[in-house]
Amino acid sequence: MAALRVARGLFRSCRGVQSVDYDARALFLGARRPVCTSSSDDSADGVRKAQFADAEVQEILTRITGLDLERVFKPIKRELKPPKYKLMTDAQLEEAVLRAREQAGKLLKMPLVVPERQPIDDVLAEDTILEGMDTAKHVFTDITFSTPHRERFIVVREPSGMLRKATWEERDRLIQVYFPKEGRKLTAPPIFNEENLKVMFRQDRHEEVLNHCLVQFEPDSADFKKVHTLAFEHLEQEAKYEVLRSTRFFGPLVWYLVTRRRVDGLLTDMLQRDRLQDALSLVRLFNLVHPQSDCALQAVQQQATGLDLLKIFADCESQKSGFIKLALQTYEHSGTDIVLTAPQSKPGISAQHLQTTHGELGIPDYRSF
């Protein structure tokens, strides 16, 4: 019948057309490529450099980030409700703390650090016969619900008759039009202008800005990278690492510094706050990311652990080697018992604290408060 003839005609006319193919899995394929730009002798030597997404790297970064419950569950501005009080036994309290830790772990999940996306400039067809048909562009979006946003077809027909793939900015905007995400605006809000960002950084509100940036932009877009770079540079200059200490952005901050070999400030800050474990993890991470550097090679040669690692790092790489060596000497001479395997005690409620305030029977002793 006529309908079948139409369908067959469609088949025939469309077989010659090439299927639109995007480099759709660029997000995760790109993460395999090396992130750091400092040294170029990576693939030539055959030594595989550590990437952000590696299990070991992630483990080190989560350990360095720390888990300060007070900080993670800081009161956020919300609808005003009367507070809830609960009466718990010791065991229930410990359980609640454990659950809170797990929840904090989830909240501290690090946002992806992926290489910046390459601009799309692919022309599908040049139909000059259509030139001058219209003064405006036509943008065709595929709104099939089940396709992932990265694989969605979005093409633009220019007034000149050219049919091209949409650029990344156009893609983001149109996907927000047809599949709106909560909190994301169509155009970037003015907080992400340079001057306004500086104002926010002066007020130490880096975490707010970075959370907003995470919602607004895609992880591999230029704007996302720019905001993060500005935030991290500001923190590095002012040496205010504590601002992001127990937040989800500490990992990316550490990664940013390590890939650019500017670890000194962070290391000295850690030593000043007596975080020896974190300092060791940091040096280990540095060796993982730059396996060809002097520090890493010497460490492998001498099979160094503990304070020796820090000494080697101070000798080879750092510019503030004097301070680091002084700090190490104080550790050695004061004879502090540094347990190198167990993690440092985190601030917050611990079993010891509970025992001192709650007596042997487990009943709270109000006289001790």
Partner: protein
Amino acid sequence: KVHLQITASLLLKKYHGGHVVIRMALGGATNRPFYRIVAAYNKRSRDGKCIEQLGSYDPLPNIYNEKLVGFNYDRIKYWMGCGAHPTKPVAKLLGLKLLTLKIQMYFQITICFIGSW
């Protein structure tokens, strides 16, 4: 009765001699048209009850000088396979070669993604 209407094969048509079309239903406001691309029975009113909405078309350009067209190609393929006829403006947007000979030398606005079958 609802499921009988949804499976729109030509044997189970609701209207006598009617067929399914893919056409534009007008909405919006005064001096501000907005079309929904819709699969509906031929005899139904233009803006009335449709079988399924397959997309939208905004004829007025936005601040970036773009006319936004959204197509649910998956479902359009299904309805075309069921034997729905697109109207001329929809066919223009979809980029199908028009059926009647005299208009066949007319324009093609976009390549047919149905070719990715």
